[in-house]
């Protein structure tokens, strides 16, 4: 399944390693759900976001692909919370360095969750940026995680 909504440029996201999996590269796989939002989308505006990109796919196939990309982007972060399980990245939350986009300070966040043991083994990556604070970012991730589970 694939859902892509593109309404603007993802400038704060430019140059990131995770872009290698975004943009429809894996659309042929029915296990993949990809969402890209920006601009005037209701959800984006409601949460103070400028850009939002989520990728969800089968854990066995996509965790080995996503993990090095997420870690490479996370290596530049100013804040990180990571956990490994059996040698594999299980959970990561990165607060990336602030960038200036159109004269506005833009906070950037990257979230990764690999759940290989559930009924539907899946891996999820969420990138988003905007003026939202760290606490608001927590709420966004929580909401997106629950949406992705459904």
């Amino acid at each position: 399944m694939l859902t892509i909504l593109v309404c603007g440029n993802a400038s704060a996201q430019t140059g990131m390693h995770i872009n290698n999996v975004l943009g429809g590269k894996y659309v042929s796989d029915p296990s993949v759900t990809e969402v890209i939002m920006s601009g005037e989308q209701k959800f984006v505006k409601a949460h103070g976001l400028s850009n939002l990109a989520t990728f969800r796919g089968d854990s066995e196939t996509y965790a080995p692909i996503l993990q090095p990309l997420v870690l490479a982007d996370g290596a530049k972060s100013i804040g990180r919370n990571v956990r490994y399980k059996d040698g594999k990245l299980q959970y990561a939350f990165f607060m990336l360095p602030v960038t200036i986009v159109n004269g506005k300070k833009t906070n950037r966040y990257l979230y990764y969750l690999n759940n290989p043991d559930g009924n539907k083994p899946s891996v999820m990556m969420i990138y988003f940026d905007g003026t939202l604070s760290r606490t608001d970012a927590e709420a966004v991730i929580s909401k997106l995680s629950s949406l992705n589970e459904n």
């Binding site: 870690l71 804040g79 919370n81 956990r83 399980k85």
Partner: protein
């Protein structure tokens, strides 16, 4: 000759392909070395190592107000300095600070104000199951949260559920004629308790609280304790005015409450659970005027049941809500001759 060249080319291509595949595999399997901090100077560094966790703080990185914070995970994700015990390192005016995380260890290196190089290697006890948090900023609390959805349980002390409501006797035998409008209760569901939360939405709490109930009869009767301990309802004498009579029960309660929070910022909540009540006090008070004089008669040791179990359900928004409380067990001992439970409802402040 041509065949030989082809073989060489094929062999080379095979080698290149093998190297390429091996390289691609390495990208997937190997964890990169992660430089958590690389600063030219800092005002101080503090390393606190303990078996349960390790923390590092580097202040005023590169002469700015920014600090570096690191904290390792718990359980088998702790760090070790090669031996058990506790270690504390404190040093001021340091330069060339690097903190690097690899798959197996955390390496801290800096130069002291004396020009000596200090180096500490903290090996992860269980590298495959390690976890840590690091942050560069002004306050550690700016990054003091975890959004893990598995195995994250938090414990905290709480005080909640200050309420006032109306109460009525139910399943009365004999009928007490209790007026719900005139009967009221005060409750502090959890004066002090402990709450266990395993997600943003769900929590369990247990604690110790207080509960008062006053059952006023609306009939022109008063509660009377007879010499044999039985409580009966007796009519007032002729000429008695402004009369009222009530049974008061006081309980120490131990509630077990499950809470569900949802909606905008989890402000909407619903709570439900049983409450074990230790009914430590009870009395009858009857007040009336007779021939221009006011009388007040209080009787203790009324024979309340020492332990009862109630059920409570409440829901609300933010700090305020409503509750319904039901007591299916009789409040009084059989020997008292009264048999009634209670049903109450009211307003609760969930601070």
């Amino acid at each position: 000759m041509c065949s030989s060249n082809c073989k060489i080319i094929l062999t080379l291509l095979s080698l290149i392909f093998t190297v390429f595949v091996a390289r691609a595999s390495d990208i997937r399997e190997e964890m990169p070395v992660d430089t958590l901090l690389n600063a030219s100077c800092a005002s101080s560094i503090a390393i606190s190592y303990a078996p349960e966790s390790t923390s590092i703080q580097v202040n005023n990185i590169n002469g700015t107000d920014d600090n570096f914070y690191f904290k390792s995970g718990k359980d088998h994700m702790r760090l070790t300095l090669g031996a058990s015990g506790r270690t504390s390192v404190n040093c001021s005016d340091i330069t060339n600070v690097t903190i690097v995380e690899s798959r197996t260890a955390l390496c801290v290196e800096f130069t002291t104000c004396d020009g000596e190089t200090a180096s500490y290697d903290f090996a992860f006890v269980d590298p495959d199951n390690r976890s840590f948090t690091s942050y560069v900023g002004r306050r550690a609390s700016d990054f003091g949260f975890t959004i893990s959805k598995t195995g994250r349980v938090t414990w905290e002390c709480v005080s909640q559920g200050l309420g006032i409501g109306w109460v009525d006797a139910v399943r009365e035998n004999p009928e007490t004629g209790t007026s719900m409008w005139r009967s009221y209760e005060f409750t502090w569901l959890m004066t002090l308790g402990v709450r266990m939360s395993w997600s943003r939405h769900h929590s369990l709490a247990c604690g110790l609280g207080l509960h008062w109930q006053n059952f006023h009869t609306r009939k022109p009767w008063y509660f009377h304790k007879n010499p044999d301990g039985r409580i009966s309802l007796e009519p007032y004498d002729e000429g008695v005015t402004n009369h009222r009579s009530r049974i008061q029960l006081f309980s120490l309660q131990v509630p077990f409450i499950y809470s569900l929070s949802f909606g905008h910022k989890e402000r909407v909540y619903a709570k439900i659970g049983p409450i074990v009540c230790f009914n430590v006090g009870g009395n009858i008070m009857t007040e009336y005027d007779y021939e221009g004089r006011e009388y007040s008669i209080k009787t203790g040791r009324i024979g309340q049941r020492p332990v009862t179990v109630d059920g409570i359900f409440s829901m609300g928004y933010g700090g305020i809500g409503v509750y319904v409380r039901y007591s299916p067990m009789s409040k009084m001992r059989t020997s008292s001759g009264l048999n009634f439970g209670s049903l109450s409802t009211g307003i609760v402040v969930a601070f």
